[in-house]
């Protein structure tokens, strides 16, 4: 017991992004204490600087060719993990940019906002590296708990309170369910490390216990990524939470859930694909279809994007199903394309969704409304933001030459590659759904371009930070759409992970 605690060999370089983040978190907290009330906005600067420093460390590690496995393989710093860490940090940076004015102008605790945001991000960076049930769970909780508070950040708004309590209860239940599944997995295999679980699970006979164990773990994730029928909390939470928090929840937090799922499915349950692919297949189909159909009817833009994010989550589940279908037929070459697809989709979705939210925040600063009709005639007085919003919506709809097409394309590719009736069916369902989705995305576009503006409409002023966020998102969406090889590294990642 005591000997086990002897000097561990910790590779501090490999942990540097997390260490930088932790230092930033403490700094933000202390700064919030020291700074006088009127200059607490400085904490946003510290937070964004810290994020950039952490990002720089990720970049350093990226050029450090060696792949590190820490803590006996429970924590991996490979290119896959680094790519995701990079994504999480960039997404956070953009979130901070779109938050600055919103949080600064409203009646909010500023220091705490960035503190909680960064805590959640710390969980995400850990999640990217987690290759062990325990670190996976700890990371997931680190992501979730601060966001429960963030969702309720509009303290005096009942909707925000409702959002927070709903989100918290669902989060707690899903954690419990997932933990129960994980404990059964541990009981069956005696292992917590995913690579070891993968070996043991493949050797086990198909049993009801195993089925229940896998099912419960997946159910927990289904809640986290708001897959239909476990999605109903998302719209209320998204609408009630402050808009930058919604952006963060729908992008980074959701991505955290997906990354956890990637880890556990691709590194753990691959050998037993026959037992779970149908579950994911059904979840994917339902999420796409119901998410889109419900989004059609929304009149509030944030609610619409909430349902759209449910549907987009469905699209992201398709490669998981494809991987399962292929694995259950012992067709191994799909793993690569499916893995790539999830990651590409996450990155692209992050850029376009954050961009759309940035536009919404910019417009809502003037209109003080979240109704889709409040976008009417935007083109007549604020053409720049209109064009940008149109780009993001077109990208979400998957229309070239914006990045969304490539994400959808890789998703289709994984499904068709898996083949069989299941692969083709889900691809066609996804195809039909992308048309349905186009309808409600274009509904906003239609309001902005085709409808007359209100008589008293004033041009939308975009503050500097928001402008920077828009530049980053637009740049990514257009660049990736025109030249998707920017994500060349991701191909590398998949190649390295799956030989």
């Amino acid at each position: 017991m005591i000997a086990a605690l002897a000097n561990p060999h910790v590779d501090f370089l490999a942990l540097s992004p997390e260490i930088a983040l932790t230092a930033t978190i403490v700094l933000v907290l202390v700064a919030d204490l020291i700074l006088p009330e009127r200059s607490t906005w400085q904490t946003s600067r510290i937070a964004s600087l810290g994020t950039l420093v952490s990002l720089a460390f990720v970049a350093v590690l990226e050029n450090h060719s060696a792949i590190h496995g820490l803590f006996g393989g429970a924590y991996a710093v490979d290119r896959y993990a680094l790519a995701l860490k990079g994504f999480f940090l960039v997404a956070t940076y953009v979130t901070i940019l779109i938050s600055v004015d919103y949080i600064g102008e409203g009646d909010y605790y500023e220091g705490e906002f960035y503190f909680l945001l960064l805590c959640s991000v710390l969980g995400m960076t850990v999640m990217a590296s987690a290759r062990d049930l325990i670190s996976l769970f700890v990371a997931l909780e680190t992501i979730s708990i601060p966001t429960y508070v963030l969702a309720g950040f509009r303290k005096h708004d009942r909707r925000s309170n409702e959002a927070a309590i709903k989100y918290y209860l669902i989060g707690a239940i899903s954690s419990a369910v997932m933990l129960y599944g994980m404990s059964m997995i541990f009981g069956l295999t005696g292992e917590t490390k995913l690579s070891a679980i993968a070996l043991k699970v493949s050797a086990l006979p198909d049993s009801k216990v195993l089925a229940v164990a896998i099912f419960l773990s997946l159910l927990g994730f289904a809640f986290k990524v708001s897959a239909v029928p476990f999605h109903w909390w998302a719209p209320d939470t998204y609408e009630g939470a402050p808009t930058p928090v919604t952006a963060f929840l729908s992008v980074a937090s959701k991505a955290g859930g997906f990354v956890a799922m990637l880890n556990i499915i691709f590194f753990g349950f691959g050998g037993k694909a026959g037992m779970w692919w149908l579950v994911i297949w059904v979840l994917a189909g339902l999420s796409m279809t119901l998410g889109n159909l419900t989004a059609l009817k929304q009149t509030n833009i944030v609610r619409m994007l909430a349902y759209s994010s449910v549907a987009q989550g469905g699209f992201m589940l398709v490669p998981f199903a494809a991987y399962g279908i292929a694995q259950s037929h012992h067709q191994t070459d799909v793993a690569r394309s499916a893995f790539q697809s999830v990651i590409v989709y996450l990155l692209v979705y992050g850029a376009m969704n954050l961009g759309a939210f940035a536009c919404i925040i910019a417009v809502a600063r003037r209109t003080k409304s979240g109704e889709i009709t409040s976008f009417s005639g935007l083109f007549q007085h604020s053409p720049v933001i209109t064009v940008l919003m149109s780009i993001f919506l077109a990208s979400l709809a998957g229309i070239p030459p914006f990045a969304g097409w490539f994400a959808k394309f890789t998703m289709f590719r994984a499904a068709i590659n898996a083949g069989g009736w299941a692969g083709v069916t889900i691809a066609i369902v996804a195809g039909v759904n992308s048309v349905i989705a186009a309808f409600y995305y274009l509904n906003v576009v239609r309001n902005m371009w085709f409808r007359p503006a209100a008589d008293d409409a004033q041009p939308v002023q975009i503050p500097g930070a928001l402008r920077a966020a828009l530049v980053v998102c637009t740049g990514l969406v257009v660049a990736v759409g025109v030249y998707p090889s920017i994500f060349g590294d991701i191909a590398d990642v998949a190649t390295k992970t799956f030989g």
């Binding site: 229309i399 239609r446 371009w449």
Partner: protein
């Protein structure tokens, strides 16, 4: 592969409008004249580039891809920036660059409400990128991207500058096309995974896919894959029963939008059939051909009957598009080099003639603020030049020999007299008869329109209005079109010479005739309508 300037010329032809677009966006909104000038110059330079391609094109080897460039683009999926033109794509590329210039000239003082010159011209430039790009793409993914790029600008053009029912028309146009292209993309992916190129890699490269043949795809799967592409392309053409978006889109679109839609956008679909669907999946094409032919003749008759039921001049022209594209598809369905040559000719001819008709309809509306034919009449007395041009175009459109329309329609009908080997003769000859009836109907509705709009005396409400006849801008935009309609009508060989080599090679590879070569040569030449017309053409 091309070298030096030749390696850049197609890229320049496609992406010069992007440069113009950037410039236009930088100019403040109020500087309208400057914006117009920059746009015009950009499109002229683009046209110049495309004429350079035309001039330096090696007409002795039209089957060969020329000005070819192949650069790595998306390594992950082995998709390349592979561009090039052959005899089939060259006329389309030049047509596209040409029509865009005319559209910019025409819109000089014909801006629909809400004015906004900057946005309108920016969209035209963006549209040109997609149109030119589609015709030079030699990679399925590249093709798909360009094919989709045209969607948004046209959507905005209809939605912002369109008629009263514009919102409905624009979203309908958009969703129909998007649905088709989603299925098309799935088909592309299926081909990607089923076929391997010479190096044993999966590929999206069109020439490589054609060379690789059908690979190991079973006939049933081929049929499904072809079906996906068919829906994608057929919606764009549009073929019956996928045509319903077209009358709405055309009716609501601003004049320039209608012209571009009719002249170029519809051709993306038929071009897709000739460039991709037929050569890559010839066996499936053969099984599908009778059905394509059937839908084509239904389209011909349905479109024609639809025309007769219209009261709106523009809607009538839109339905006539459905009918005319039916001839193009019928030529394609014959799967013979003769029919496909006719189809390509028909595409260009329809682009010129229907584009022209839409220009006139636009000017009529500009003058009278209505397109209701019951309220119009006596155009020949009030604006004789415009009336004569309308008459000329109606004649060209109904397929009067000596004008361009004839060479698209007549050979297409003839081609199904003897379709490719393995296709049922009785079925296709029935199609031929029905299509021939369609020409009579075409004459009927076009002359009817001419009579309503141009003949007679002006209606009372216009009696005292002073009507502007064809103005200088209109002459500048229209004269080139009118000249080309005559030139191509008199010397169709100009086109056939360009397309024949490429079409022939494609057909020979995809649908080799079972008859021994020696036997084929022994047949007296005059008996084959193909050779007859070709001689006539040259």
């Amino acid at each position: 592969m091309a070298h030096g300037f030749d390696a850049w010329i197609l890229t320049l032809t496609t992406f010069t409008p992007i440069v113009g677009l950037a410039l236009v966006l930088l100019i403040p909104k109020v500087e309208e004249e400057l914006i117009k000038l920059v746009t015009l110059l950009t499109t002229l330079v683009t046209l110049g580039f495309s004429l350079y391609v035309l001039k330096n094109f090696d007409f002795d080897h039209t089957a060969k891809l020329q000005f070819e460039v192949k650069k790595t683009w998306i390594e992950v999926i082995n998709s390349n920036y592979h561009i090039g033109v052959d005899g089939i794509s060259l006329p389309m590329l030049v047509l596209s660059a040409f029509i865009t210039v005319l559209c910019v000239i025409y819109s000089w003082n014909h801006f629909p409400e809400p004015h906004n010159v900057k946005a309108f011209l920016a969209l035209i430039l963006l549209l040109e990128v997609g149109m030119n790009g589609t015709f030079i793409a030699q990679d399925l993914i590249l093709f798909f991207i360009f094919f989709e790029i045209v969607l948004l600008p046209m959507y905005f053009m209809i939605g912002v500058w369109g008629g009263p029912n514009r919102e409905y028309a624009s979203i309908k146009f958009f969703l129909f096309t998007l649905f088709g292209s989603a299925l098309m993309l799935l088909s592309f992916l299926a081909i990607f995974f089923k076929v391997k190129n010479g190096q044993g890699l999966h590929t999206f490269d069109i020439p490589e896919l054609i060379a690789a043949g059908k690979g190991g795809i079973t006939h049933g799967v081929q049929l499904i894959i072809f079906g996906g592409m068919f829906i994608g392309f057929a919606i764009k053409v549009p073929m019956f029963p996928f045509h319903t978006w077209l009358p709405d889109a055309h009716t609501e679109a601003p004049t320039v939008g209608s012209v571009l839609l009719a002249a170029i956008l519809l051709k993306l679909g038929t071009y897709g059939f000739i460039r991709i669907a037929l050569p890559i999946l010839p066996e499936a094409a053969k099984s599908w051909a009778p059905w394509i032919g059937l839908l084509a003749v239904i389209g011909i008759i349905y479109g024609a009957l639809g025309c007769l039921a219209q009261t709106d001049m523009k809607r009538l022209i839109a339905f006539s598009s459905v009918s005319h594209m039916g001839y193009v598809m019928l030529g394609i369905a014959s799967l013979t080099s003769f029919g496909i040559n006719a189809a390509v000719f028909g595409m260009v001819a329809h682009g010129l003639i229907t584009g022209m008709l839409f220009f006139i309809a636009g000017s009529v509306q500009h003058t009278f603020h209505t397109r209701e034919m019951s309220r119009l009449g006596g155009l020949l007395t009030q604006a004789p030049k415009m009336g004569w041009i309308l008459g000329f175009c109606a004649m060209a459109s109904l397929g009067l020999p000596g004008l361009a329309g004839f060479w698209g329609e007549f050979p297409a009908i003839l081609s199904v007299f003897k379709p490719a080997d393995g296709l049922s003769l009785p079925v296709f000859r029935t199609y031929m008869v029905i299509a021939a009836i369609g020409t009579v109907l075409a004459a009927g509705y076009l002359l009817w329109m001419l009579q309503k709009v141009a003949f007679g005396t002006p209606k009372d409400e216009w009696k005292d209005t002073h009507v502007h006849d064809v103005g200088p801008q209109e002459w500048m935009a229209w004269l080139p079109l009118l000249l080309l309609i005559v030139v191509l009508g008199v010397v169709p060989g100009l086109m056939f010479k360009t397309t024949d080599g490429a079409v022939k090679q494609m057909v020979d590879k995809a649908f080799p005739t079972k008859v021994e070569k020696g036997v084929a040569e022994k047949q007296p030449e005059a008996k084959s309508p193909a050779i007859y017309v070709k001689h006539l053409g040259r």
